[in-house]
Protein backbone atom coordinates (compact mmCIF):
# COMPACT_ATOMS: atom_id res chain seq x y z
CA UNK A 1 0.00 0.00 0.00
CA UNK A 2 1.14 3.52 -0.69
CA UNK A 3 0.25 6.86 0.77
CA UNK A 4 0.10 10.43 -0.53
CA UNK A 5 3.55 11.16 -1.79
CA UNK A 6 3.72 14.53 -3.51
CA UNK A 7 5.80 16.03 -0.73
CA UNK A 8 8.07 13.25 0.48
CA UNK A 9 11.18 15.05 1.73
CA UNK A 10 13.77 12.40 0.82
CA UNK A 11 16.96 13.74 -0.82
CA UNK A 12 19.99 11.83 -2.05
CA UNK A 13 23.39 13.36 -2.79
CA UNK A 14 24.73 10.92 -5.36
CA UNK A 15 28.18 12.54 -5.43
CA UNK A 16 28.82 11.65 -1.81
CA UNK A 17 27.52 8.09 -2.09
CA UNK A 18 30.12 5.35 -1.81
CA UNK A 19 27.78 2.53 -2.77
CA UNK A 20 27.96 0.78 0.62
CA UNK A 21 24.35 -0.44 0.27
CA UNK A 22 23.40 0.34 3.86
CA UNK A 23 20.34 2.30 2.70
CA UNK A 24 19.04 -0.72 0.79
CA UNK A 25 19.43 -2.82 3.95
CA UNK A 26 17.62 -0.56 6.39
CA UNK A 27 14.77 0.73 4.23
CA UNK A 28 11.62 -1.29 4.96
CA UNK A 29 9.94 -0.14 1.75
CA UNK A 30 12.58 -0.89 -0.87
CA UNK A 31 13.03 2.76 -1.79
CA UNK A 32 16.71 2.45 -2.78
CA UNK A 33 18.72 0.39 -5.20
CA UNK A 34 22.49 0.48 -5.67
CA UNK A 35 23.82 0.14 -9.21
CA UNK A 36 27.39 0.73 -10.34
CA UNK A 37 28.49 1.74 -6.85
CA UNK A 38 25.85 4.46 -6.62
CA UNK A 39 22.54 4.57 -4.80
CA UNK A 40 19.42 5.51 -6.68
CA UNK A 41 15.90 6.27 -5.51
CA UNK A 42 13.78 3.54 -7.05
CA UNK A 43 10.42 4.17 -5.48
CA UNK A 44 10.06 7.59 -3.89
CA UNK A 45 6.31 7.12 -3.43
CA UNK A 46 6.87 4.30 -0.97
CA UNK A 47 8.99 6.36 1.46
CA UNK A 48 7.39 6.89 4.85
CA UNK A 49 10.12 9.23 6.12
CA UNK A 50 11.25 6.97 8.95
CA UNK A 51 14.79 8.32 8.74
CA UNK A 52 16.57 4.96 8.91
CA UNK A 53 18.50 5.49 5.68
CA UNK A 54 19.70 8.99 6.57
CA UNK A 55 20.84 7.95 10.05
CA UNK A 56 22.66 4.87 8.80
CA UNK A 57 24.36 6.32 5.74
CA UNK A 58 27.99 6.53 6.85
CA UNK A 59 28.78 9.48 4.59
CA UNK A 60 25.59 11.46 5.19
CA UNK A 61 24.55 11.32 1.56
CA UNK A 62 20.85 11.09 2.45
CA UNK A 63 18.60 13.66 4.08
CA UNK A 64 14.96 13.32 5.06
CA UNK A 65 12.66 15.19 7.42
CA UNK A 66 11.80 12.21 9.56
CA UNK A 67 8.98 11.79 12.00
CA UNK A 68 5.90 9.74 12.73
CA UNK A 69 3.16 9.64 10.12
CA UNK A 70 0.46 9.78 12.74
CA UNK A 71 -2.49 12.18 12.48
CA UNK A 72 -2.97 12.21 16.24
CA UNK A 73 0.60 13.42 16.76
CA UNK A 74 0.20 16.05 14.08
CA UNK A 75 -3.14 17.27 15.45
CA UNK A 76 -1.55 17.45 18.91
CA UNK A 77 1.21 19.44 17.26
CA UNK A 78 -1.27 21.91 15.81
CA UNK A 79 -2.90 22.33 19.21
CA UNK A 80 0.16 22.48 21.46
CA UNK A 81 3.02 23.35 19.13
CA UNK A 82 4.76 20.07 19.90
CA UNK A 83 4.28 16.89 17.94
CA UNK A 84 3.96 14.08 20.43
CA UNK A 85 2.53 10.71 19.61
CA UNK A 86 -0.60 10.65 21.81
CA UNK A 87 1.51 12.23 24.54
CA UNK A 88 3.45 10.68 27.36
CA UNK A 89 4.91 7.25 27.63
CA UNK A 90 2.60 5.15 25.52
CA UNK A 91 2.38 5.36 21.78
CA UNK A 92 -0.48 5.05 19.37
CA UNK A 93 1.54 2.67 17.24
CA UNK A 94 2.38 0.28 20.11
CA UNK A 95 0.80 -2.90 18.70
CA UNK A 96 2.85 -2.81 15.52
CA UNK A 97 5.32 -5.44 14.40
CA UNK A 98 8.08 -6.21 16.92
Amino acid sequence: MKYLSKDVSLRLDVDRCTGCKMCTVVCPHGVFAVENQKARILDRDACMECGACALNCPVAAIAVNSGVGCAEAIINGLLTGQETCCGGDTCCCAPKAS
Partner: protein
Protein backbone atom coordinates in the same frame (compact mmCIF):
# COMPACT_ATOMS: atom_id res chain seq x y z
CA UNK B 1 25.60 -20.34 32.56
CA UNK B 2 22.67 -19.61 34.82
CA UNK B 3 21.18 -22.90 33.81
CA UNK B 4 19.39 -23.26 37.09
CA UNK B 5 17.48 -20.06 36.66
CA UNK B 6 13.90 -20.22 35.55
CA UNK B 7 12.43 -17.95 32.95
CA UNK B 8 11.39 -14.93 34.86
CA UNK B 9 11.41 -11.95 32.66
CA UNK B 10 8.59 -9.77 33.86
CA UNK B 11 8.92 -6.29 35.20
CA UNK B 12 10.31 -7.42 38.54
CA UNK B 13 14.01 -8.22 38.60
CA UNK B 14 14.57 -11.95 38.77
CA UNK B 15 15.63 -12.65 42.37
CA UNK B 16 17.93 -15.43 41.19
CA UNK B 17 19.53 -13.35 38.49
CA UNK B 18 23.15 -12.39 38.63
CA UNK B 19 23.51 -8.69 38.92
CA UNK B 20 26.71 -7.65 37.25
CA UNK B 21 29.06 -5.53 39.31
CA UNK B 22 28.79 -2.54 37.03
CA UNK B 23 25.02 -2.46 37.40
CA UNK B 24 23.96 -4.30 34.23
CA UNK B 25 21.13 -6.77 34.73
CA UNK B 26 21.71 -10.38 33.76
CA UNK B 27 18.88 -12.84 33.48
CA UNK B 28 17.95 -16.11 31.85
CA UNK B 29 14.99 -16.91 29.64
CA UNK B 30 13.67 -19.65 27.38
CA UNK B 31 11.62 -19.89 24.20
CA UNK B 32 8.41 -21.34 25.55
CA UNK B 33 5.39 -19.14 26.12
CA UNK B 34 3.48 -19.75 29.33
CA UNK B 35 -0.26 -19.26 29.62
CA UNK B 36 0.45 -15.86 31.19
CA UNK B 37 2.51 -14.90 28.14
CA UNK B 38 -0.33 -15.86 25.79
CA UNK B 39 -2.94 -14.01 27.86
CA UNK B 40 -0.64 -11.04 28.13
CA UNK B 41 -0.18 -10.95 24.36
CA UNK B 42 -3.94 -10.83 23.88
CA UNK B 43 -4.43 -8.28 26.65
CA UNK B 44 -1.74 -6.00 25.33
CA UNK B 45 -3.37 -6.01 21.88
CA UNK B 46 -6.55 -4.79 23.51
CA UNK B 47 -4.54 -2.20 25.43
CA UNK B 48 -5.31 -3.67 28.84
CA UNK B 49 -2.47 -2.61 31.12
CA UNK B 50 -0.27 -1.91 28.13
CA UNK B 51 2.01 0.41 30.01
CA UNK B 52 3.03 -2.28 32.48
CA UNK B 53 4.06 -4.80 29.87
CA UNK B 54 7.78 -4.51 30.37
CA UNK B 55 10.87 -6.62 30.74
CA UNK B 56 13.82 -5.60 32.89
CA UNK B 57 16.45 -4.20 30.51
CA UNK B 58 19.75 -6.04 30.49
CA UNK B 59 21.45 -9.09 29.09
CA UNK B 60 19.62 -12.43 28.97
CA UNK B 61 20.91 -15.89 28.21
CA UNK B 62 18.71 -18.09 26.04
CA UNK B 63 19.75 -21.72 26.30
CA UNK B 64 23.46 -21.96 27.07
CA UNK B 65 25.23 -19.40 24.93
CA UNK B 66 29.00 -19.51 24.75
CA UNK B 67 31.36 -16.66 23.92
CA UNK B 68 30.76 -17.18 20.20
CA UNK B 69 26.96 -17.28 20.40
CA UNK B 70 25.03 -14.54 18.54
CA UNK B 71 23.86 -11.43 20.38
CA UNK B 72 20.38 -10.20 19.50
CA UNK B 73 19.11 -6.81 20.55
CA UNK B 74 15.49 -5.94 21.31
CA UNK B 75 13.26 -3.51 23.22
CA UNK B 76 11.93 -4.01 26.74
CA UNK B 77 8.32 -4.07 25.51
CA UNK B 78 7.46 -7.58 26.66
CA UNK B 79 5.75 -8.57 23.43
CA UNK B 80 8.85 -7.64 21.40
CA UNK B 81 10.99 -9.71 23.77
CA UNK B 82 8.53 -12.63 23.82
CA UNK B 83 8.27 -12.76 20.04
CA UNK B 84 12.04 -12.80 19.72
CA UNK B 85 12.68 -15.52 22.30
CA UNK B 86 9.91 -17.68 20.86
CA UNK B 87 11.33 -17.30 17.36
CA UNK B 88 14.75 -18.36 18.66
CA UNK B 89 13.57 -21.77 19.89
CA UNK B 90 16.43 -24.26 19.96
CA UNK B 91 19.14 -21.63 19.56
CA UNK B 92 21.70 -20.64 22.16
CA UNK B 93 21.93 -16.89 22.13
CA UNK B 94 22.38 -13.72 24.11
CA UNK B 95 19.52 -11.26 24.14
CA UNK B 96 20.38 -7.67 24.95
CA UNK B 97 17.25 -5.81 26.05
CA UNK B 98 17.41 -2.03 25.75
CA UNK B 99 15.43 0.25 28.03
CA UNK B 100 12.79 1.64 25.68
CA UNK B 101 10.32 2.42 28.50
CA UNK B 102 8.19 -0.55 27.52
CA UNK B 103 7.67 0.61 23.95
CA UNK B 104 8.17 -1.64 20.92
CA UNK B 105 11.24 -1.45 18.70
CA UNK B 106 9.65 0.49 15.88
CA UNK B 107 8.05 3.23 17.96
CA UNK B 108 11.02 3.46 20.29
CA UNK B 109 13.39 3.83 17.33
CA UNK B 110 11.22 6.68 16.05
CA UNK B 111 11.45 8.37 19.46
CA UNK B 112 15.16 7.66 19.76
CA UNK B 113 14.91 5.52 22.93
CA UNK B 114 15.85 2.46 20.90
CA UNK B 115 18.90 4.44 19.90
CA UNK B 116 22.64 4.63 19.50
CA UNK B 117 23.30 6.03 22.99
CA UNK B 118 21.10 3.50 24.77
CA UNK B 119 22.69 0.62 22.83
CA UNK B 120 26.23 1.79 23.55
CA UNK B 121 25.32 2.27 27.20
CA UNK B 122 23.85 -1.23 27.56
CA UNK B 123 26.84 -2.84 25.82
CA UNK B 124 29.13 -1.28 28.40
CA UNK B 125 26.82 -1.81 31.39
CA UNK B 126 26.43 -5.51 30.61
CA UNK B 127 30.13 -5.84 29.81
CA UNK B 128 29.38 -7.50 26.53
CA UNK B 129 33.03 -7.26 25.52
CA UNK B 130 33.89 -9.80 28.22
CA UNK B 131 31.04 -12.18 27.50
CA UNK B 132 31.50 -12.72 23.80
CA UNK B 133 34.63 -13.00 21.70
CA UNK B 134 33.07 -11.84 18.43
CA UNK B 135 32.11 -8.21 17.81
CA UNK B 136 28.75 -8.45 16.13
CA UNK B 137 25.22 -7.47 17.18
CA UNK B 138 22.02 -8.43 15.43
CA UNK B 139 19.38 -5.71 15.55
CA UNK B 140 15.85 -5.82 14.22
CA UNK B 141 15.73 -3.83 11.00
CA UNK B 142 12.90 -1.72 12.40
CA UNK B 143 15.34 -0.37 14.98
CA UNK B 144 17.35 1.34 12.24
CA UNK B 145 15.53 4.72 12.49
CA UNK B 146 17.07 5.09 15.96
CA UNK B 147 20.50 3.50 15.62
CA UNK B 148 23.43 4.68 13.51
CA UNK B 149 25.30 1.43 12.83
CA UNK B 150 28.60 3.14 12.00
CA UNK B 151 28.44 5.18 15.24
CA UNK B 152 27.97 2.04 17.34
CA UNK B 153 30.96 0.46 15.69
CA UNK B 154 33.07 3.56 16.22
CA UNK B 155 32.17 3.78 19.90
CA UNK B 156 32.20 0.10 20.91
CA UNK B 157 33.85 -1.94 18.17
CA UNK B 158 30.64 -3.91 17.70
CA UNK B 159 29.37 -4.18 14.14
CA UNK B 160 25.61 -3.80 13.82
CA UNK B 161 23.94 -6.27 11.48
CA UNK B 162 20.31 -5.52 10.73
CA UNK B 163 18.21 -8.67 10.84
CA UNK B 164 14.78 -9.21 9.33
CA UNK B 165 11.78 -6.97 9.97
CA UNK B 166 9.81 -9.81 11.55
CA UNK B 167 11.09 -11.92 14.44
CA UNK B 168 9.58 -15.01 12.80
CA UNK B 169 12.27 -14.86 10.08
CA UNK B 170 15.15 -14.76 12.52
CA UNK B 171 16.14 -18.44 12.39
CA UNK B 172 16.13 -18.42 8.60
CA UNK B 173 18.30 -15.33 8.78
CA UNK B 174 20.75 -16.96 11.20
CA UNK B 175 20.90 -20.13 9.13
CA UNK B 176 21.59 -18.13 5.97
CA UNK B 177 24.74 -16.65 7.52
CA UNK B 178 23.06 -13.38 8.41
CA UNK B 179 21.73 -12.80 4.92
CA UNK B 180 18.17 -11.51 4.65
CA UNK B 181 16.12 -12.12 1.54
CA UNK B 182 14.58 -8.95 0.04
CA UNK B 183 11.20 -10.11 1.34
CA UNK B 184 12.53 -10.24 4.91
CA UNK B 185 13.55 -6.59 4.58
CA UNK B 186 10.09 -5.36 3.67
CA UNK B 187 7.45 -4.24 6.06
CA UNK B 188 4.01 -5.24 4.96
CA UNK B 189 0.68 -4.29 6.37
CA UNK B 190 -0.89 -7.65 5.78
CA UNK B 191 -4.43 -8.63 6.60
CA UNK B 192 -3.42 -10.42 9.76
CA UNK B 193 -1.58 -7.35 11.02
CA UNK B 194 -4.63 -5.27 10.23
CA UNK B 195 -6.76 -7.86 11.97
CA UNK B 196 -4.54 -7.51 15.04
CA UNK B 197 -4.94 -3.72 15.22
CA UNK B 198 -8.65 -3.57 14.36
CA UNK B 199 -9.96 -4.55 17.82
CA UNK B 200 -7.60 -2.02 19.38
CA UNK B 201 -9.23 0.70 17.31
CA UNK B 202 -12.61 -0.31 18.67
CA UNK B 203 -11.36 -0.37 22.28
CA UNK B 204 -9.69 2.99 21.78
CA UNK B 205 -12.80 4.76 20.52
CA UNK B 206 -15.59 2.85 22.23
CA UNK B 207 -16.13 5.43 24.95
CA UNK B 208 -16.36 8.26 22.43
CA UNK B 209 -18.72 6.13 20.39
CA UNK B 210 -21.05 5.64 23.37
CA UNK B 211 -20.97 9.34 24.27
CA UNK B 212 -21.65 10.46 20.70
CA UNK B 213 -24.44 7.91 20.37
CA UNK B 214 -26.00 9.19 23.57
CA UNK B 215 -25.73 12.80 22.40
CA UNK B 216 -27.42 11.96 19.09
CA UNK B 217 -30.12 10.01 20.90
CA UNK B 218 -30.84 12.94 23.20
CA UNK B 219 -30.82 15.42 20.33
CA UNK B 220 -33.28 13.22 18.47
CA UNK B 221 -35.82 14.00 21.22
CA UNK B 222 -35.64 17.75 20.49
CA UNK B 223 -37.97 19.62 20.61
CA UNK B 224 -39.17 18.20 23.89
CA UNK B 225 -42.90 18.06 23.50
CA UNK B 226 -44.90 16.03 25.93
CA UNK B 227 -43.19 13.18 27.71
CA UNK B 228 -39.40 13.06 27.27
CA UNK B 229 -38.95 9.42 28.21
CA UNK B 230 -41.55 8.17 25.79
CA UNK B 231 -39.83 10.11 23.00
CA UNK B 232 -36.51 8.65 24.09
CA UNK B 233 -37.90 5.13 24.20
CA UNK B 234 -39.56 5.70 20.87
CA UNK B 235 -36.56 6.73 18.85
CA UNK B 236 -33.66 7.63 21.14
CA UNK B 237 -32.81 4.03 21.91
CA UNK B 238 -32.90 3.05 18.26
CA UNK B 239 -30.67 6.01 17.35
CA UNK B 240 -28.22 5.09 20.08
CA UNK B 241 -27.99 1.42 19.16
CA UNK B 242 -27.78 2.07 15.43
CA UNK B 243 -25.05 4.66 15.92
CA UNK B 244 -22.92 2.54 18.23
CA UNK B 245 -23.28 -0.54 16.01
CA UNK B 246 -22.48 1.34 12.81
CA UNK B 247 -19.57 3.13 14.48
CA UNK B 248 -18.17 -0.08 15.92
CA UNK B 249 -18.42 -1.72 12.53
CA UNK B 250 -16.62 1.22 10.93
CA UNK B 251 -13.74 1.04 13.43
CA UNK B 252 -13.32 -2.68 12.74
CA UNK B 253 -13.84 -2.63 8.98
CA UNK B 254 -11.78 0.50 8.37
CA UNK B 255 -8.43 -1.18 9.12
CA UNK B 256 -9.47 -4.46 7.51
CA UNK B 257 -10.73 -3.01 4.24
CA UNK B 258 -8.05 -0.31 4.05
CA UNK B 259 -6.44 -1.42 0.76
CA UNK B 260 -9.78 -1.65 -0.99
CA UNK B 261 -11.33 1.62 0.13
CA UNK B 262 -11.06 4.24 -2.61
CA UNK B 263 -8.14 6.72 -3.00
CA UNK B 264 -4.89 6.94 -1.02
CA UNK B 265 -6.20 9.57 1.40
CA UNK B 266 -7.32 7.98 4.66
CA UNK B 267 -9.95 10.64 5.30
CA UNK B 268 -11.63 9.90 1.96
CA UNK B 269 -11.41 6.16 2.56
CA UNK B 270 -13.12 6.73 5.92
CA UNK B 271 -15.82 8.99 4.51
CA UNK B 272 -16.71 6.40 1.85
CA UNK B 273 -16.88 3.68 4.47
CA UNK B 274 -19.04 5.88 6.70
CA UNK B 275 -21.52 6.61 3.92
CA UNK B 276 -21.68 2.95 2.90
CA UNK B 277 -22.27 1.71 6.44
CA UNK B 278 -24.81 4.45 7.22
CA UNK B 279 -26.81 3.62 4.11
CA UNK B 280 -26.55 -0.10 4.79
CA UNK B 281 -27.72 0.34 8.38
CA UNK B 282 -30.67 2.50 7.40
CA UNK B 283 -31.62 0.06 4.67
CA UNK B 284 -31.54 -2.90 7.07
CA UNK B 285 -33.37 -1.19 9.92
CA UNK B 286 -35.58 0.99 7.74
CA UNK B 287 -36.59 3.69 10.25
CA UNK B 288 -39.20 6.15 9.02
CA UNK B 289 -36.95 9.20 8.96
CA UNK B 290 -37.35 12.45 7.09
CA UNK B 291 -35.01 13.26 4.23
CA UNK B 292 -33.25 15.89 6.37
CA UNK B 293 -32.68 13.46 9.24
CA UNK B 294 -31.45 10.77 6.88
CA UNK B 295 -29.04 13.20 5.23
CA UNK B 296 -27.79 14.42 8.62
CA UNK B 297 -27.20 10.83 9.74
CA UNK B 298 -25.18 9.96 6.66
CA UNK B 299 -23.16 13.18 6.94
CA UNK B 300 -22.39 12.56 10.62
CA UNK B 301 -21.27 8.98 10.05
CA UNK B 302 -19.16 10.05 7.08
CA UNK B 303 -17.45 12.71 9.23
CA UNK B 304 -16.92 10.29 12.11
CA UNK B 305 -15.51 7.46 10.01
CA UNK B 306 -13.36 9.90 8.09
CA UNK B 307 -11.81 11.14 11.33
CA UNK B 308 -11.42 7.61 12.63
CA UNK B 309 -9.41 6.54 9.60
CA UNK B 310 -7.38 9.74 9.59
CA UNK B 311 -6.29 8.84 13.13
CA UNK B 312 -5.55 5.33 11.92
CA UNK B 313 -2.53 6.70 9.99
CA UNK B 314 -0.70 6.34 13.31
CA UNK B 315 -1.18 2.57 13.31
CA UNK B 316 -0.02 1.91 9.77
CA UNK B 317 3.45 1.28 8.49
CA UNK B 318 3.55 3.36 5.36
CA UNK B 319 2.22 6.87 6.01
CA UNK B 320 4.79 9.66 5.85
CA UNK B 321 4.60 12.59 8.27
CA UNK B 322 4.66 15.19 5.50
CA UNK B 323 1.80 13.40 3.76
CA UNK B 324 -0.21 13.14 6.97
CA UNK B 325 0.48 16.79 7.75
CA UNK B 326 -0.93 17.77 4.37
CA UNK B 327 -3.95 15.52 4.78
CA UNK B 328 -4.68 16.77 8.31
CA UNK B 329 -4.59 20.39 7.11
CA UNK B 330 -7.20 19.74 4.46
CA UNK B 331 -9.31 17.01 6.04
CA UNK B 332 -9.65 18.17 9.63
CA UNK B 333 -11.51 21.44 8.88
CA UNK B 334 -13.78 19.57 6.46
CA UNK B 335 -14.52 16.92 9.08
CA UNK B 336 -15.33 19.55 11.70
CA UNK B 337 -17.60 21.41 9.27
CA UNK B 338 -19.37 18.18 8.31
CA UNK B 339 -19.88 17.36 11.98
CA UNK B 340 -21.32 20.78 12.79
CA UNK B 341 -23.62 20.85 9.76
CA UNK B 342 -24.70 17.29 10.51
CA UNK B 343 -25.51 18.05 14.14
CA UNK B 344 -27.45 21.17 13.19
CA UNK B 345 -29.45 19.30 10.57
CA UNK B 346 -30.04 16.41 12.97
CA UNK B 347 -31.45 18.76 15.59
CA UNK B 348 -33.40 20.84 13.07
CA UNK B 349 -35.04 17.70 11.69
CA UNK B 350 -36.96 17.43 14.95
CA UNK B 351 -38.87 20.58 14.06
CA UNK B 352 -40.19 19.15 10.79
CA UNK B 353 -43.78 17.93 10.70
CA UNK B 354 -42.62 14.43 9.73
CA UNK B 355 -40.03 13.31 12.24
Amino acid sequence: MNNALQANTCSQPDPGAVSVASGGYLGHTDSAWTLADHLGAIGVRLSIGRMLYRVTPGLYTLGTPGPDAPVLVTANYKLSFDQLRRALAGINAWILVLDTKGINVWCAAGKGTFGTDELVGKINECRLHERVTHRRLILPQLGAPGVAAHEVRKQTGFAVVYGPVYAADITAFLQADLQATPAMRRICFSWHERLAVAPLELVLYFKQLLLLGLALALLSCVPIAGHFWSAFEHRGILVFLLFVLTGALASLLGPLLLPWLPTRAFSIKGACLGVALAVLGLWLVGPAWSVLRTAAWILLLAAGASHLLLKFTGSTTFTSPSGVRREVRVALPVQIAMGLVGLTAWTAAGFLPTW
